[in-house]
Amino acid sequence: MSRSDGGIRCHGLTKTYAGGGGVRGVSFTAAPGRVTGLLGPNGSGKTTCLKVVLGLAGHDEGTATIDGTPYSQLTSPTRAVGACLDVAGFPPQHTATTVLRSLAVRSRVPAERVEEVLGEVELADVGRRRIGQFSLGMVQRLRVAAALLARPHHLVLDEPLNGLDPMGIQWLRGLVRRHAEAGGSVLLSTHLLTEAQLTVDDVVILHGGQVLAQAPLPTLVESGPMGAASLESVFFALVERGAAPPGRGVDGAPRPGTPMTNGGVR
């Protein structure tokens, strides 16, 4: 693996659905040691990108790799990437411990790790309770536990804040930050722009299946409309413009070191 292959990369990714939608020529990188926010309105292609990256959906063109290797060819996929997806659920009749034990077997992780990871997500006390009795926030923590089970190098999180209370949000923010500081890539998809501004280092904005902008957060915010100081205002300016060519700033002009289309973000 060359240095440039590190992290989670999409290059020229195109995926079309029979009923329309999908993504076209999407390129971005979630670099090691950075938290990359994948932002966009509903239907912009965020989940499609994540599914393709994680081998859950095929694609028509382009590449999606984890440390230079497509997900389907990873020898220990759950050790390479821990994924917490909104679409992933659990059988309600089972306990959290049972479900994680089954996942531990699949991921070739020692059974002791189950109790440990339940402790990490603060669910140790309810590990033997049926998942059907869990609150939304507890299910979300269990998703994170499943993602962390095999001690993955990278993290892919799809709407990870759904259902979390303020303490949970703070906890997840810390977890994401620590993971990046330990050298892993974190690719985080969210609708919550204020939260994204507090958490991410780099931003990729998708709209209509294409990358509208990608840049380090401070650079992107600086490129915003007059007086803009928030990711939210930049986001709305970009999305309202909609068809602004990728690689351009919010005002439509190319900006050195700002939105790029070749997958580089730094």
Binding site: K51, L54, G55, L56, A57, G58, Y71, S72, Q73, L74, P77, T78, A83, L85, V87, A88, G89, F90, P91, P92, Q93, H94, T95, T98, V99, R101, S102, L103, V105, R106, S107, R108, A146
Partner: protein
Amino acid sequence: MKVSIRAELVLLTRSRAVRWSVVTAWLFAAVVTGGLLSTYGSEQQAVDVSTAAGQAEVLIDPLSGLVVLALGVVLAAGDFRTGAVVWTYLATPERWRWAVAKVVVAALLGAVVGVVAELVKLGTLAALQPAGAGPVQWSQGVLWQAVAGSVISPTALAVAGAALGLATRNVAGAITGALVWIVVLEGVVRSFLPEAVVPFLPHTALAELRNLTGTAPYAQSATVVGVTLAVLVAGALVLTQRRDLTR
């Protein structure tokens, strides 16, 4: 493959719904067989065990068959309904391994239900036969053929259920489809086919294995059931490997 099977067994052995369904099938076997024997008059001097076993099967096999068919479907399609399949696909990108594990575990479940239901039935027959009845003729070949059929039948139905569950990814759809075929469609198709072709219909062949009609060679029926299952499972594996996750 072993890893996938072990992971499935972790879930299966901790499922209360599965345990209750299986126990219900076994209790039903005991109750039906005991009830059947109680209808035998005390004047009857000997109980033909193979006849009694055959009569009990008529009642027991549909229920145990329905139970394992439904369990096979739920075992496979239930993961799609709950979204648990996402975790499986993430841990096992070679999805066919997981799909084969589902089929293997369904087969094990079907076999366990079949074997124990059969033991319960034969044990009840031996224990409750009327006083004065002659010794049970355990050496009867027909009896053992029926026993084998009664084990193969739930095993095959569980495998078919798992394959249908994988292919449709829909619990209600798969169970309804299977029941419509078994109860309605095969009967309709049968009425349009020449008599010589009828034993090659899958559910008819399965009934032949249980020796309920006894008009087709055992090996022929076994082959028809085996080929049907092979086609169903192969189709399910191909679909599982190729399809996108649509949740």
